[in-house]
Symmetry: D2
């Protein structure tokens, strides 16, 4: 008999919340029991996200009105800082998959440096397991609190971590140019995210340092066994979904390709293309897939690694469901076998 877990989405009025609703709609073992969004409390989800018309969903409530005893697992899609407070107030035995930045960084000083305020829930930070599924699978399966990764960070880490682990690239010469769809910036109304300001053009953003760097440098250093810094420049794309990381490294192409291919050979959601082929964001759109390509540079001794995923899926909500599946003892790919939507 099929077991069903009662699920809450905290912060359901943003794009990652809506994407969770989309995924759970066809998930065989999760059902949505509660949706919170304090600024929209009392409204139907379909009035906040009209794509939900016709779905059988509870109305949005204030988080204070959530009964934790009525749910088995919560996805928390709230802004950082708010998240600390909310999660602190929830029962310590409630399983939580967090999508914010609040529990990603192990070093409180790093959190304070990048987020501009001291961390307010260090015990939770200690408890949290980093949510990069393919690298923390066993810990996630046993975790109560999982900290979802940054979407840009995930894209970069899938391309780089196996290379550092295998020692096939020079750790001090990794340079990433990343191209990110605009949904990663969320749904809040900002001039810089208007259609008129984003479409038909491209520009770099967060040029003095993107917060996701803190995450992947933490993981790079852990794997490399010594501090690793990384050049990283993100660009805002005139598109909604998808991230492409173009990772320029020093190493040898076939060794790099072999390290990636071997590392992910058994992974259902990470594909390594044949050597010499490059992926496109549009061919993973709407899916939980990450695609990686390796292409030799014309310049000897240098190689391009391309990593791409859908920021709302493998970079956020798809990853969150994958982790929830592990935490609940379900098949890891349950509800996540959706094929890419192209065109």
């Amino acid at each position: 008999m099929t077991q069903t877990f009662r699920t809450a989405i905290l912060g359901a009025s943003g794009y990652t919340g809506a994407e969770l609703v989309r995924l759970i709609a066809t998930h065989p073992h999760l059902k949505i029991s509660a949706l919170t969004a304090n600024s929209k409390a009392g409204q139907a989800m379909a009035s906040v996200f009209p794509q939900c018309v016709g779905m059988d969903l509870p109305d949005l409530i204030r988080i204070e009105d959530l009964d934790p005893a009525s749910i088995d697992i919560a996805f928390c899609a709230l802004p950082h800082a708010t998240t600390q407070e909310v999660v602190s107030a929830l029962p310590r035995d409630l399983k939580i998959v967090d999508l914010s930045a609040d529990f990603r960084l192990r070093d409180p000083a790093a959190y304070e440096a990048w987020y501009g305020r001291p961390h307010g829930a260090l015990d939770l930070q200690d408890e949290a397991v980093y949510g990069l599924t393919e690298f923390y699978r066993e810990q996630i399966a046993g975790a109560r609190l999982v900290a979802g990764t940054g979407c840009n960070a995930a894209t970069v880490m899938y391309g780089v971590l196996p290379l550092l682990a295998a020692g096939v690239v020079e750790p001090d010469e990794i340079s990433v140019a990343l191209m990110a769809g605009v949904s990663g910036a969320g749904r809040s109304a900002k001039e810089g995210l208007l259609h008129t300001e984003v479409s038909e053009g491209v520009h770099p953003y967060s040029i003095t340092g993107h917060r996701h760097v803190a995450e992947f440098e933490q993981e790079f250093s852990k794997v490399a066994g010594r501090p690793v810094t990384c050049s990283f420049m993100p660009h805002l794309m005139p598109m909604n979904r998808g991230i492409l990381a173009t990772i320029h490294v020093r190493g040898e192409a076939s060794a790099i390709h072999a390290a990636l291919a071997e590392r992910y050979s058994a992974e259902p959601f990470v594909h390594v293309l044949p050597l010499g082929e490059a992926p496109s964001t549009r061919h993973v759109r709407g899916s939980n897939l990450c695609r990686i390509g390796v292409v030799p540079d014309r310049v000897p001794g240098r190689v391009y690694v391309f990593s791409t995923l859908d920021n709302l899926m493998k970079g956020a909500s798809g990853q969150a469901v994958q982790n929830a599946n592990l935490m609940l003892g379900l098949e890891e790919s349950a509800g996540l076998t959706l094929a890419p939507v192209f065109p």
Copy 2:
């Protein structure tokens, strides 16, 4: 025990073929046994459509190399005219869901007038059932050959047929301005479909008469019990997926809304919004849904009906799977409960 039907897609190198692959990938009772595409025969599907990397799919073959005995049902996604020849050559007991225009028009003279050549398989035309599921459900369930509707035609018909049936609009005063995403024009390389020629602008197309008019006037006339002609002007949108029909009619808004709401009250894939609300194409994207809105015009006695769907889904491949489900005795919504992808 779950039964699985062996499925062939004839003409798998176009967008409707690829969308069928996407749908069948998560369909509980269909599996892909053969893919044909004569111009790409011998290639892997993933080399023609890179979103298919990692899917377990047969290579593309020539249609001549298909063994009909090895399949239970065929989706035919070939161009019109070619379709007649191909279907004529297939066994007469093979279940076929056709997505072309070849078997939609009951009147051979209408076919010749709109398609510029005589129909070459009138016996098949006689046999074919029109694939507008909600209006031909029982016939489809018993059919061997189903003729999928035009995507624009389906969008218009969902908004209009119940109004003619209920007699709540003036049949001679229906004016449709339709806005269609560019994927409806297919994947062939034409100057007019280049990104540079389509993006950041809008223009009407098929201004002397769009072929889908033949279909919906056929159905309108049948329901109205007398000839109905309809003003219809399609526009090419700078977007990939989705159709919106803005249908201007003479009638009374609440009666019109009531007729639609009642007609579709039990339909899983056709939603009628509350009176006074209008749908958006982006909120049905990637789903098999059709959404309909009714809004009173400021001008007394006139009403706007908005109908929207995803041309590759409810307008083509989703509809085809829905019809296949009926033909195979499966649950009608099997494999089609995918929620809309937004943003």
Copy 3:
């Protein structure tokens, strides 16, 4: 010797203000002497609109700090309501081209009905000349205060006014489906204008009645000599610039085409295409052109008229410069001969 007029732009931090800057940059007789934007006062124009880097422009000031004696003409690109107050406070001999809705409607009751508040400067309303250049040319040349038209209204009026004047269409059966680029909604940060919410989709807006209707019904009724109401449904396009009005009328195509062709035969900025051809928004982008096409409907007795222009140009700032040229005794097309930007 070339005369140069000192120009102020009031409300320079919006898109129509920026477009005025673009036009005046290459205008032979206008130079920018002052730019106001109260919320951005003290900033360089290039920090508000980076495309202005390198232009020789004054910094933004508060409108209170403008010295009217130092300018010869002002373009006022402020929101309605604010505009009344600002223009009331300016000297009564300062030439003003207003781009807001405040002085477009001759009937104070209509203003109150559509804008939800009584008009506060009826003497200015009396003085103002409506800025549809080709129909008010002589009055504009002698005017002190010109009220620029709504961008959607202009698009519709260019297609319809000559038809009512010539009596070649049925005034009670005009139905307009309009498709508008998102820059017409301005630069304020609203959720509904985000890239994620606008791109890759289409939906109708202002479905209970768009304010521009008040304008064109005013002008239609004046020309027709009796009240004319008009069905009008605008749609928000996933594009930045451009408006297409698809105008469905009852009449005879060749008479309609002849009326338009004759009316605009001497107009430099309004082109009528050969009968049977339709225009595209992208082919007038960035120019001051309006293009009109006439196509017979398949349904006898009905005709499609298509009118297109760039909402920031002929629909707003280009029109404003054209009117300023008349008011200053300059050649009407001065600074406005920019060719369309395509692709």
Copy 4:
């Protein structure tokens, strides 16, 4: 008295040809006397490019029907290889600005290696001056035949050449990630350039080596006084116009900024932003401007240089007009002061 030069555009049916028409339309000293396009000969330019409706332009003719004696200067916007033949057949005293790749490379072996065929007009190659205006101004002024640069190459060279000249970067550690609008690929109908294939996604292209590399490595090596190779990865953007080169170098940010600022301080079309600021493609759209920004990397000793321009303008047709102005003894900026078009 104003002199007017009779101008021919050879290959006027492509986007660079059309952009030349746009520029010459408002150029004070050039007028179009002939337009050639063999595949479209006999047609009006407005039927090939509807944006030209209403312009006073000659019909398209075959190049064989061009009378060279009737023109003062020719812009040649033909494909490479064809260009060699065409230019060889023209009189040796006709001034020519070529936009193809045929005369850019000084080394015939390099041409053969990158373009897959021997060069067929080495005398013309010897005669040709490379068209990067700011670096070859005097030679261009005296040249008969100027070889326009590649659009991607120009973008990169503006950011890098002054750095190599000043010796402020490590020549062997230049890594360029470039993002290019799709109009750079021209107007030919290819599957990969369809709206459905380009919009809402991003991918690298020419991954085994882009031909423009040959150009900028030639110029880099010349300036550096020794061979320079450069890592270069272009990406196809879902936008029509604009190129952004994100150039990662080893050096010191303030020295790099100073070298660029000084080099371009007197240049009308190349702007260097204040240190720490980055440009956007959309703010140079439609203009002849190149904007450059310098931003320190977080990683010590590394710096980002961003260079952006409109590929059809400063990257092709705007550059060509700038060079023609020099060749004809006109003011260099004549006809090129158009402000950027945003949004």
